[in-house]
């Protein structure tokens, strides 16, 4: 059988412009292309075609990823073990086919491919089927994450902070001592409750008239922290939000369930 095979040119036309997602992807392609049985893999044929593809990649100046090289080594190892395996075959002790080391992951990956195709061919929401309101523009209350609004957030937040920080000065000269200390944890809790009830708010609304610079600073830090952990989004409408940025509740479930431990 091997003799016959050598007469035929087994070079493979690799699909132009299409790259393989990984070594297993490439191997499955070769198995399909050659119409061979995955459980009786012609290791030598597959290995040479596999290496051919790596050479092909190099010709196209593509980086051959490490994963592909590891698989090339595995193939070579299996190929050499096959020689020993066939000799051992004569003896009584049945050794495991060295190809099984490759067959198992291949079959498993083929199953995954199958499952992925099955998933992709389902009626996908917003592609094949639509629920109420799901296909039209997102409502202004919930800006999309790619919106142009995020660019402004940090700068505008700092602006808002400046506005708030300068406000207490209006109270006039004089020393004020405030022994009541507020912690960032407390501010976080307050803001969280406020947002859970309101869904969105302006930074200004978080403060009462009486709150001093310390409290404002802590609010500012708390808002940044909440944004950092991803529970709220900051955004500003370019045209209408001259009042400063608005805070957005991003993930109410997470916000409601998560406890903050800041002291």
């Amino acid at each position: 059988m091997n003799g016959k095979r050598k007469l035929i040119d087994f070079s493979v036309d690799f699909p132009e412009g299409e790259s393989f997602d990984g070594p297993l992807d490439l191997l499955l392609f070769l198995i399909k292309k050659n119409e061979v049985d995955v459980y009786d893999l012609p290791v030598s044929l597959i290995t040479s075609q596999y290496l051919e593809y790596l050479a092909h990649m190099e010709k196209l100046n593509l980086d051959v990823a490490g994963d592909f090289l590891v698989m090339a080594a595995t193939l070579a190892q299996i190929k050499s073990r096959m020689l020993l395996f066939k000799e051992e075959d004569e003896e009584e002790e049945p050794a495991e086919d060295p190809r099984m080391a490759l067959v198992r992951p291949l079959v498993e990956y083929a199953l995954v491919r199958e499952a992925a195709e099955a998933l992709g061919s389902r009626y996908i929401l917003d592609r094949d089927v639509f629920a109420r309101g799901s296909s039209l523009e997102p409502s202004p209350e919930e800006p999309s994450s790619e919106g142009p609004l995020e660019k402004f957030s940090l700068f505008e937040l700092v602006e808002a902070w400046r506005g708030l920080a300068s406000r207490p000065k209006e109270k006039g000269p004089g020393l004020e001592f405030n022994l009541e200390t507020v912690t960032i944890g407390e501010r976080l809790e307050t803001i969280r409750e406020f947002l859970l009830a309101r869904k969105s708010a302006r930074f200004r609304e978080l403060e009462s008239e009486s709150s001093g610079p310390l409290e404002t600073a802590l609010s500012f830090l708390a808002v940044l922290e909440l944004a950092r952990v991803g529970f709220l989004k900051l955004y500003q409408d370019t045209e209408s939000d001259l009042d400063g940025p608005r805070l957005f509740l991003y993930d109410s479930e997470a916000l409601a369930s998560r406890s903050f431990d800041y002291r």
Partner: protein, 188 residues
């Protein structure tokens, strides 16, 4: 219920809901003595009504609840009008999603072993799309690595009532019949 039938009320309730609702979830809408079983029966009747009338809407069971969704054959028209881009799921994303869906909760390392390539970028994008989440940590392994699972949004997106309704992989049975131990390992 003054002229209204239970079915009509249930229809309105499902229509007005933002996300799929179950019969149990609709119970608080009634001050009358109504059982979840009656609501469920009304839902099933409604579903049939919509089918019979060949309505543009279908009452679909997704993510443990019921939701009105448009008929798939209308998608081209809706997409033409819609401003929102339909979800783009690459093959890598679908494969990773499939591994997580069938094997959850699963470690990133296990996903990478099955697909033979790095999964970090794909996982991140799936998490951004709210299709995959970190569900827990494996306390028995050093460093307590994160375990990934699919979300409710995953069920909604793929029109699945629950995880046990994931499509079975029959095609593979035909292709490689003699490997039940591998199949079971993957899809038990």
């Amino acid at each position: 219920m003054s002229g209204q039938t239970l079915k009509t009320v249930v229809e309105g309730l499902i229509f007005a809901s933002d996300s799929p609702v179950s019969a149990e979830k609709l119970l608080p809408a009634f001050i009358e003595d109504v059982q979840a079983g009656e609501i469920q029966a009304a839902i099933l009747e409604l579903k049939e009504d919509y089918e019979e009338r060949r309505s543009a809407l279908e009452l679909r069971e997704v993510a443990g609840g019921w939701q009105f969704r448009t008929r798939p054959d209308l998608s081209l028209h809706i997409l033409r009008l819609g401003h929102k881009a339909p979800p783009r799921l690459s093959r890598a994303a679908l494969e990773t999603l499939a591994v997580v869906a069938y094997r959850q909760p699963i470690l990133r390392a296990e996903i990478e072993k099955i697909r033979g390539v790095d999964a970090g970028g794909v996982l991140r994008s799936l998490m951004e799309k709210d299709l995959v989440k970190v569900s827990q940590r494996n306390d028995r392994l050093p460093g307590r690595p994160m375990l990934y699972s699919t979300t409710k949004r995953f069920l909604e997106t793929f029109d699945l009532p629950s995880l046990s309704d994931l499509p079975s992989i029959q095609e593979m049975d035909r292709m490689c019949p003699p490997a039940p131990e591998i199949r079971n390992k993957l899809f038990d």
